[in-house]
């Protein structure tokens, strides 16, 4: 194996919401093709953290460097990073007034400026990849939660990103639909995508993750491989958290 490059570098990332400090200095790096799972109790800042990575939230102190580009006020950098970092949300956030196909082709056409036919071809191949090509002409409201989330993944992939962020992608789903989404994510991980996943699915973490980050009170409390993490956690808070959810 060749030596992988660092694709995400965070150093001392801090973030306040008014008088509440959500991130208290997060420092970590993610290598290319690495799958990182972020876990932690709610309110621990894990969602805020991955949202700072494509500047949906603006960090106020510290440095974030993605693929050699620093995230700052620079308009050009923000545009570049957003088209290279895909994101999947807990609530899917599909556009309800557009059909599934239009949802997927919107960004390639208007951001990447691809011809419509090419964009549609790409969209169909992605919908096939997530297993729902037959739903292309339906509207999001007509799909089940699991299908909607798979469309959301296809929509992110349509921008051909180098990094994918998942913000609790299965939390809003009924239990029987979780698997179909996780299967797509596993396939994506195996194909070599760099992924950061905030989730409560410990099975997914054990099976797919290269590394697990445990967040609490706006800090990375502990990090390590899944084996280390689930069998031999070091920190008290990690132990407490794992005992509550496992």
């Amino acid at each position: 194996m060749t030596v992988k490059q660092d694709i995400i570098v965070c150093e001392g990332v801090k973030k306040w919401f008014g008088d509440f400090q959500a991130l208290k200095g997060v420092t970590t790096t993610v290598k290319e093709q690495e799958v990182v799972v972020v876990i932690g109790p709610s309110g621990s800042g894990k969602s805020t953290f991955i949202r700072t990575l494509n500047r949906l939230e603006v960090h106020q102190e510290g440095t974030i460097i993605i693929d050699g580009i620093e995230l700052t006020n620079d308009l050009k950098n923000i545009e570049k990073i957003r088209s290279e970092v895909g994101m999947v949300f807990q609530q899917f956030n599909l556009f309800p007034h557009l059909s599934v196909l239009q949802n997927v082709t919107l960004a390639p056409i208007w951001v990447r400026k691809k011809p419509k036919a090419e964009a549609e071809e790409l969209a169909m191949s992605l919908l096939e990849r997530v297993g729902i090509p037959e739903q292309a002409d339906k509207f999001p409201g007509q799909l089940s939660g699991g299908q909607q989330q798979r469309v959301a993944i296809a929509r992110s992939l349509a921008m051909e990103p180098r990094i994918m962020l998942f913000d609790e992608p299965t939390s809003a789903l009924d239990p029987e639909m979780i698997k179909e989404v996780l299967d797509v994510m596993k396939e994506l991980a195996l194909s070599g995508m760099t992924m950061i996943v905030v989730t409560h699915e410990m099975g997914f973490a054990k099976e797919v993750a290269d590394r697990v980050l445990f967040f609490d009170y706006g800090l990375v409390v502990e990090e390590g491989t899944p084996e280390h993490f689930f069998t031999n956690p070091q920190h008290d808070r990690t132990k407490l958290f794992l005992s509550q959810i496992l």
């Binding site: 001392g12 008014g18 006020n73």
Partner: protein, 518 residues
């Protein structure tokens, strides 16, 4: 303006300003603001030239000059200054607005409930009312009422006269009189000592609230019916009854008001200026302090974003602007002093006790002199042919909207809540009183405030039937003096104040309700 803080050990890339989001954001806003100010400036300078050419005045001098106009009705039909004329117009506008709000609320609630009635025919009558009234422009309705009142058939020479006595007989009194010059009906008018008695009544209301709460508390403790509402009402009645006979003892208040008037007269202008300036600084300071406190964490002051800094800056600027305003325009402080003095002297005169008589007396319309329909006087409450169309028009029109608001509010609550209430074993009228109405009121109030605001604004249509409210008076005034710009500015100032006042009440109520909810 940017929020980057360089920390040692980390090299940040330098961002050129034309790509810096924060910079672009503020640059766009500042340019936009500058553009708007430039447009105003250009328009203003243009106006200066035009005004000079056409000889139109922009000064407010007309407020103090004799206006040379007479008004059809109002507290002062021959005002000696332009300001007094506008003031009369404002009073007329407020008169018709308050009367309209009062009547429209009652009519609207009746129709709104009728609209929900299970009685088919009542329901249909209410529906037809609403569908007809709200789909015809109000102005058309007001003009129609104006024509109707002036074409009432009848004996025009004698104006009117009640049934039962000879029409022209002096001193003959009726309950309601309608003629082509207006309508007059029996009404209570304040007499000597009315204000003293009102003071009693206000004290009584305060006490009755206390009594009501005490009985309610007792009810919760004992579990028995304690007739809290009856007790509260009785308290007011008792106070009113006692006050009716002993109200002269409140006469001492008159001296108090007189003393206050003297005080306002004696105060030099600079004291008010200083006080107002201090108040401005104080409020700005308090706001900034509160804002910073909000941003303070146990670890120290949180980082301020560019928006935060802008807000603090704006607050400080507003405070400073207030100080400058109060010191550069001494007229404001002077005006406050004068109106304070006038207010208290008026109150002083109201509390003067002359020769007795009852504080409140019923007066029925009578024809003191054939052919002379009373304008303002003790003979019944009169709606002139100018007041009548505006009042009836806005009342009937707004009532249709209020009815829909009331119906919507009750329906919104009644669905789930009714079932819950009935399941608890409440009777129907209990359900309405304890569950539905209090909650519906909460929903109804904001849109109701909106309707009141619309009603107040709609009284300006009185201009079409020559009712001398503030817009009509203003129009007459600028036709006479040419002071169009100042008068339009005064209109805007007046109406914006009225609307801010009403929305402040609604907002205050909303906030109170929201607090109770938590």
């Amino acid at each position: 303006m940017t929020i980057q803080i360089d920390e040692p050990g980390l090299q940040h890339q330098r961002v050129p300003p034309w790509r810096n989001v924060t910079f672009l954001k503020w640059a766009a806003q500042v340019i936009f603001l500058a553009g708007i100010l430039a447009v105003f400036w250009i328009l203003g300078s243009q106006a200066g030239d035009n005004l000079e050419q056409r000889g139109i005045s922009v000064s407010f001098d007309f407020l103090a000059d004799p206006p040379g106009i007479a008004l059809a009705e109002g507290i002062d039909v021959r005002p000696d200054t332009g300001g007094r004329a506008l003031y009369t117009g404002i009073v007329n506008m407020l008169r018709v607005s308050v009367a309209g709000i009062f009547a429209a609320t009652i009519l609207g609630i009746i129709i709104g409930i009728a609209r929900l009635s299970s009685n088919w025919i009542v329901n249909k009558v209410a529906t037809v009312y609403i569908e007809i009234i709200r789909n015809i422009p109000l102005l058309v309705q007001i003009i129609a009422w104006g024509v109707i009142i002036t074409t009432v058939p009848g004996n025009l020479e004698l104006d009117s006269g009640p049934i039962g006595c000879a029409l022209a007989e002096p001193g003959c009194e009726a309950w309601l009189v309608v003629s082509n010059k207006g309508a007059s009906f029996a009404w209570f008018f304040p007499g000597d000592g009315f204000w003293q008695w009102l003071t009693f009544l206000m004290i009584g209301t305060g006490v009755s609230v206390w009594v009501y709460r005490w009985r309610m508390r007792l009810k919760e403790e004992l579990g028995d019916e304690t007739y809290a509402l009856t007790w509260g009402t009785l308290t007011v009645v008792v106070f009113a009854a006692i006050g009716w006979f002993v109200h002269p003892i409140m006469g001492f208040l008159g001296y108090l008001w007189g003393w206050m008037a003297d005080l306002f007269d004696a105060l030099p202008v600079w004291t008010v200026q200083t006080a107002l300036a201090l108040l401005a600084v104080f409020f700005a300071g308090m706001w900034i302090k509160g804002f910073l406190d909000d941003r303070r964490t146990p670890a120290g002051l949180a980082k301020l974003t560019d928006d935060d800094i802008f807000r603090i800056g704006s607050a400080a600027a507003a405070g400073l602007a207030g100080v400058l305003l109060f010191f550069s325009f001494a007229g404001i402080s002077d005006w406050i002093l004068n109106s304070g003095r006038d207010l208290f002297s008026v109150m002083d005169s109201k509390f003067e006790f002359l020769e007795g008589g009852s504080p409140l007396a019923l007066s029925r319309p009578s024809i003191a002199q054939p052919g002379n329909f009373p304008n303002y006087g003790p003979t019944g409450l009169t709606m002139t042919k100018l007041f009548f169309p505006v009042f009836v028009g806005v009342t009937i029109y707004t009532a249709a909207f209020i009815a829909e608001v009331v119906r919507g509010g009750i329906l919104a609550i009644s669905k789930g809540q009714s079932e819950a209430g009935l399941a608890l074993g409440l009777r129907r009228n209990q359900l309405l009183r304890f569950i539905i109405l209090p909650q519906a009121f909460r929903i109804i109030l904001p849109p109701m405030g909106n309707q009141y605001l619309n009603l107040a604004k709609n009284t300006s249509l009185g201009i079409a039937v020559a009712y001398p409210e503030v817009v009509a008076v203003g129009q007459t005034l600028y036709n006479q003096t040419g002071a169009t710009i100042p008068i339009v500015l005064l209109w805007m100032l007046f109406y914006v104040s009225v609307s801010l006042f009403i929305s402040a009440i609604v907002n205050w109520y909303n906030r109170r309700v929201a607090l109770v909810e938590r």
